[in-house]
Amino acid sequence: MAGSPTHEVRDFLRRRREQIAQRWADEPLFRAVFTVSRDEAVEAGKAVVDALAQVADAGRVEDPDAAGFTAVREQLARMGAARSRAGLSTAQVSSELATLRPPVENLLLSDLQEATDTHVRDCVTTLSVLMGTLRVVVMQTALSEGQALIDRQRLQLLEVATPVIKLWDGIVAVPLIGTLDSARSQVVMETLLESIVEQQARYAILDITGVPTVDSLVAQHLMKTVAAARLMGAECIVSGIRPAIAQTMVHLGLDLGTVVTRSSLADALGYVLHQLGVGIVTPGANGTVTR
């Protein structure tokens, strides 16, 4: 009666679907993910068994991209993600997955009591290959989850790293920090233009004290931002160009054209206040500042 090991395993999975799912529901992985209802865990288990049977049917036990996995990929990803969120490392999730194999193997062995030793060995090997492929599928989805997380954090970082500060009526400032790549510059430009409109700002100070390198791309981004601000009716001042950067810009052949530059944010603010006709009186004996 013994067919090929792959078909034997497929038939076994179909036949023992219910029992396998029942046993998995008691394993830590399913218990930890489906905390509310055991029935739900059993259902999820059945879906995974069905997928494995389909993959075996297609003879693709070694292929993590086999079509049979498609139906459960998302569910597996959710399970993996739930375990990562609970603080498990990738290696720990992987070993939780490994605990799914022994109960299935025991069932298989008890079904194959009549079979020859070679056939039993072949079927057990096929099953462990298949279960290994399942682990690979879960790990793949876990990794792409990780990549998605990194991408999300990067986006968040883009936003938090570009605050626009109102310094005075009609004066906003952006302290730029870190690498001004194209994506960052785009965000800076948009945030700045929005706040120019919102605050009805007439002056915007771009402070680059925290930008470690000003090369031709950064300079181009700065000039584009300045030009866009001008179109919105605001004049830009670039402050915080450190001496080493100023010298480098000269050698590189970069000049910021007609943009007003000041060495520090304080100087830039002083310049703008002067332009606006705001006088500053130094503190009197009682420490008050009058405007």
Binding site: D181, S216, L217, T248
Partner: protein
């Protein structure tokens, strides 16, 4: 001329993120060799220009860093190589303001002014290699008319 031991490295240039590593690596290597702040900044900026060209026009490549010494002087040599389309007209590419990609066209010429030695080799279809060296404590190269 012989190469000082250690501190040699090859960095991949495949993404914007790699450009960040390139800059950090050059800054560290230059600081270790005793470059002053201004010279570090110049070399890092030149590296940033050349690495971006490698990425944008060369389709990616590598940067090799190598400390060098000559008659007691210490220097840092950077080699950027790609297997991209190459540059047909080097003079045009080096001239300020020429760009084929919507840049400022200041990268190549600017990088040449920021370092002491500059050599570019490129064959259309075979890729581009740019090799630059700067020396600790040496005056900037005189401005040449172009």
């Amino acid at each position: 001329m012989h190469t000082a031991a250690g501190a040699q490295a090859r960095l991949p240039i495949r993404s914007d993120m790699d450009l960040v590593w390139v800059r950090q690596h050059v800054r560290q290597a230059a600081a270790q060799l005793g470059f002053g702040l201004v010279d570090q900044t110049k070399l890092v900026t030149a590296a940033s220009e050349l690495a971006r060209n490698t990425l944008v026009y060369g389709g990616g490549g590598t940067m090799d860093t190598e400390p060098v010494s000559e008659g007691g002087a210490q220097g840092l040599r950077l080699t950027f190589s790609d297997e991209g389309p190459g540059i047909a007209d080097l003079d045009q590419a080096l001239s300020d303001g020429f760009t084929s990609g919507g840049g400022l066209g200041m990268g190549l010429g600017g990088a040449r002014r920021l370092v002491h030695d500059f050599a570019i080799e490129s064959r259309p279809g075979a890729g581009t290699t740019v090799r630059v060296t700067s020396w600790v404590g040496r005056a900037p190269r005189p401005r040449e008319e172009s």
